[in-house]
């Protein structure tokens, strides 16, 4: 149960979820297809970063935790010397879990 004052923000967050799902799905395909993988991964990281800052506060702790992990993995992957495709292998399963969790919470 969240603070009543946060209800409008929760509604807004849930409202953003569908478009974010679409964005993340498209970006995942772009990385898998080798289309601008670096900027695509960076954008995935940015979306995850935004969600990780608010999801738990708004009553979505699992989305919060998963998006934080995606954010951190992407951040590490983009700054590492290793091949991007190699790093992506550790990001994608987490992203998959995050997308599943977002889908399960689409109706708030």
């Amino acid at each position: 149960m969240i603070n009543a004052a946060l209800v409008p923000m929760r509604t807004k967050f849930v409202g953003q979820m569908l478009s974010r799902l679409g964005q993340l799905e498209a970006l995942r395909c772009a990385v898998n297809d080798g289309r601008e993988p670096r900027p695509s991964m960076a954008e995935i990281g940015q979306i995850a970063h935004r969600m990780s800052g608010v999801a738990e506060t708004l009553g979505f702790p699992r989305i919060g935790r998963l998006s934080m992990e995606v954010d951190m993995q992407v951040s590490a992957a983009l700054s590492a010397q290793a091949q991007l495709s190699q790093s992506w292998r550790s990001v994608e399963p987490l992203l998959e879990d995050l997308l599943d969790e977002m889908e399960a919470n689409l109706d708030g």
């Binding site: 004052a5 946060l6 923000m9 608010v54 708004l58 992407v74």
Partner: protein
Amino acid sequence: MKILAVDDDPVFLDILGVALRNLGFHDLTLVLSGDEALAEMEVKGNSFDCFLLDIHMPEMDGVELCRRIRQIARYRRAPIMMVTSMSARHYIDDAFAAGATDYLMKPLDSIELKARMGVIERLVYEQMRTNLLEQQNNRAAGILELQFDLHTPVSIPGFERGIEYLALENYLLTLGIRESYMSSAFAISIRNAGLIFGMASPVTFMNMLADVSSVLEEVLKSQQALMSYAGDGVFVVALNGAGALDLATIERELNEGIATFENIYVVDRLPMPTVKVGQLVRSTLFSRNRASRMLDRAIASAVGPGAERGAGMRRQLAS
């Protein structure tokens, strides 16, 4: 207290607004970018007491914004709290070096926010007092009204690398969240600070501190270190890691550097400040108490027995 908060995520900004209002802070300006924040500061009549800045923002990030705020004279000492997530924690060093006072982790924890804002509120109060003293001094136009006691950790004009003592403690605490637990510190004590304070006007004493701090910056220019004036004629230097330092050489270079100001002290009929560098104190940092104790031990090593006089006041400010 008038607060300016900046975050590129409107949802987070709304949450922050709710949390701050719940704590009784109602005078809020919430903006979505560094450019908007700077524009707000330029609005005539707008004056903020403290800032909350998201680190991870597109275009101008929070660290750059922090640096820009510090360049504005009236905000040189205003508390700046960085707001960050785990993925951006590596920027915390840069944020402190740019002049941040403290940091807060996302997602927001209301208990932590309350504690941090309490400290910020006390800092704002302290700085209002300091600003008032400076205004008095400026008004006097040569008639010296600046008043502070020896224990006061005054802000030293021109001490560019110097940060607030509280910010130094906060910096040490950040090392614990970055798998970089080992930290070290040492202190530099002006041995005859008490004597000089007794003989000089407050402004002359302040000038003496400025002389010492400028030499300190020069001697430590190659070190990745943060430093602060702790009051009682003592400077503290904190380092990330436990690397070896030749403190005897640092002490010699400091005293040689200070000696170049000799003529000024002859004219002022004051003794030359002489400094002693204490031992390097190491600690693994997990709590505010341990960070605070490490700094106290560093100070005690430089000053010797009875060195705790100023520490009580500093702890009071930080508690």
